[in-house]
């Protein structure tokens, strides 16, 4: 048990920001240090509260005498529904407390940590709402429940039926997917129907995949780009729920049928089911993101993830956005951060063109040629200079 490891606590050898950073580490090599740091933060808080009460005028972030929240400090809880369909269930672990033997609880716990880490360390987003909202999960929801979802406040995981599906905490991409629904809810709030619903789904797949890649330290070339790898039992002919790299190839099973995701607008699915095929047509923007990452190489959470994050949090996406409008918004985000005609901008335009949504996008490149030349600095609008762009912290809702 890592909880028995003690780090310096009362004596402030380790500064709070470093404790926060240590506490967020998910690398197993640092598990003991991370847990000790979490314990330390927990034990420290009453002391800090005491100091704040003693000197309230010097701590403007303290309101009402409560403890100051450390930005970026994770606050998790996992509850156990024990096979019922009632939320939240019984609290089995909260922040600062040692692990419990249940592997499902541990997977949910670690997944919340990895997701929080991606958003905070890469995009300076403090939890799903940008204001340090506690991350709460419920596991063992229902009996043989074949699903996981975000209910607007918490993530909920079923155990699967054991015949088609394993437990839904088994894939980190699923945990990242659900929490990203929370991020979308607090930002662009994309309507979960039709094309805007498919963009909402795709955002969850994109950042769900990035959470896993970031936690594993995988580059675009090394990553599998699968959503829900390992969720199917070995009785199913399939590797995952979806493939972002090659939509439509994740499974082909005699009972489940074939993965129905289209990989371009040519295969766009018109259906009334699944809120207008939100989990089907998401294959199109999913592949566009993959193609951007493939073109740029390196780590997908860097430029590609930043462009998609900027788009989601720009405040300019309509809640009923279409694929075409979303494509234009990503191109604008690429221009704003990296400049018109930049390698990143060209990659975005090329990706959308490949999936059948390039109409009108290339105009922004000036030359209209693939790989169009970069405009001289003097011709670039002031507002589009990348050095002036700072990551958006959060929108005030």
């Amino acid at each position: 048990m890592t909880g028995s490891v003690h780090a310096p606590t009362r004596c402030a050898i380790v500064p709070p920001y470093l404790l926060v950073r240590l506490a967020r580490l998910d690398d197993p090599r640092f598990a003991a240090a991370a847990e000790a740091a979490r314990q330390s933060l927990l034990r420290d808080s009453p002391l800090r509260t005491h100091r704040e009460v003693a000197h309230p005028p010097h701590r403007p972030e303290v309101r009402g005498g409560g403890p100051a929240r450390v930005p970026g400090r994770i606050d998790r809880s996992v509850s156990d529904a024990a096979g019922l369909e009632r939320l939240p269930g019984r609290l089995v672990r909260s922040e600062g407390h040692p692990p419990v033997p249940d592997v499902t609880v541990q997977e949910a716990w670690d997944g919340l940590g990895s997701t929080h880490d991606l958003f905070w360390s890469r995009f300076h987003r403090d939890s799903v709402d940008g204001r340090g909202l506690s991350l709460d999960a419920t596991v063992h929801y229902g009996r043989n429940y074949d699903n996981a979802f975000w209910d607007g406040e918490r993530m909920v995981f079923g155990d699967g039926d054991g015949q088609v599906f394993n437990r839904f905490t088994a894939s980190l991409t699923v945990i990242g997917h659900e929490l990203t629904h929370g991020v979308t809810q607090f930002t662009a709030n994309l309507t979960y129907q039709g094309q805007s619903g498919a963009v909402n789904e795709s955002m969850s797949d994109v950042f769900g995949s990035l959470v896993e890649q970031h936690a594993r330290g995988q580059s675009t070339a090394e990553a599998g780009w699968l959503i829900g790898e390992g969720l199917f039992t070995d009785q199913v002919q399939g590797v995952a729920l979806r493939s972002m790299k090659a939509p439509g190839t994740a499974y082909n099973d005699d009972v489940l049928g074939r993965d129905p995701q289209p990989d371009s607008m040519a295969g766009y699915v018109e259906t009334e089911d699944d809120n207008g095929g939100v989990h089907l047509n998401s294959g199109i923007p999913n592949r566009a993101f993959y193609l951007v990452a493939e073109a740029l190489g390196g780590n997908a959470w860097e430029a590609p993830g930043q462009i998609w994050y900027d788009t989601l949090t720009s405040g300019t996406l309509g809640s009923a956005v279409t694929f075409a409008a979303f494509a234009r918004a990503t191109a604008r985000a690429a221009v704003k951060r990296f400049g018109i005609g930049s390698e990143q901008h060209r990659a975005v335009v090329a990706a959308w063109t490949t999936v059948g949504l390039g109409s009108g996008l290339a105009a922004g490149l000036g030359t209209g040629r693939p790989g169009g030349t970069k405009l001289p600095e003097a011709q670039r609008p002031e507002a589009q200079r990348p050095e002036q762009q700072r990551p958006e912290q959060q929108r005030s809702e």
């Binding site: 043989n144 074949d146 699903n147 996981a148 979802f149 975000w150 209910d151 607007g152 039926d161 015949q163 088609v164 599906f165 839904f168 699923v174 997917h177 659900e178 629904h181 309507t191 979960y192 129907q193 619903g197 909402n200 789904e201 969850s204 829900g228 969720l231 009785q235 729920l241 979806r242 939509p247 439509g248 009972v255 489940l256 049928g257 074939r258 993965d259 129905p260 995701q261 289209p262 990989d263 371009s264 040519a266 295969g267 766009y268 699915v269 018109e270 259906t271 009334e272 089911d273 699944d274 809120n275 095929g277 939100v278 989990h279 089907l280 294959g283």
Partner: protein, 118 residues
């Protein structure tokens, strides 16, 4: 009389259909009573929620679409009964509880109005 329950959505986005021929059931009268008592006309639209299931329930001439949280009371009774009945009919097999291909769908377990990708 046939009752068809089709579940779509969920994080997997996999459509599953269960179908029961009510007249062929030993307790056909119970089924008929349950089905006629359902509040078919009282279902209101509800804003979709991420990754929740969507249920489409058909029993000619009625058809409703229910969000997962709306499947409660008599609707839940019907859905559970259809699922259990379908499972019982399938008999022993490698995956008796698994989703079945819908007999009325050219694409197996997926939407009849879906197009194959590509």
């Amino acid at each position: 009389m046939k009752v068809v329950v089709s579940r779509s959505g969920g994080i997997a986005g996999i459509r599953t259909t269960w179908e029961v021929d009510v007249d062929a059931q030993p307790d056909a009268a119970d089924w008929a009573e349950l089905i006629t008592a359902l509040p078919w006309a009282e279902v209101s639209a509800r804003a979709p929620e991420p990754d929740r299931f969507v249920y489409r329930i058909r029993c000619a001439p009625n058809e409703v679409v229910l969000a997962e949280p709306q499947v409660c009371g008599p609707w839940k009774e019907l859905v559970d009964r259809v699922k259990a009945s379908r499972r019982a009919e399938s008999g022993p097999g490698p995956r008796p509880a698994g989703p079945r291909r819908s007999p009325d769908s050219p694409l197996g377990g997926f939407g009849a109005d879906s197009q194959p990708p590509g």
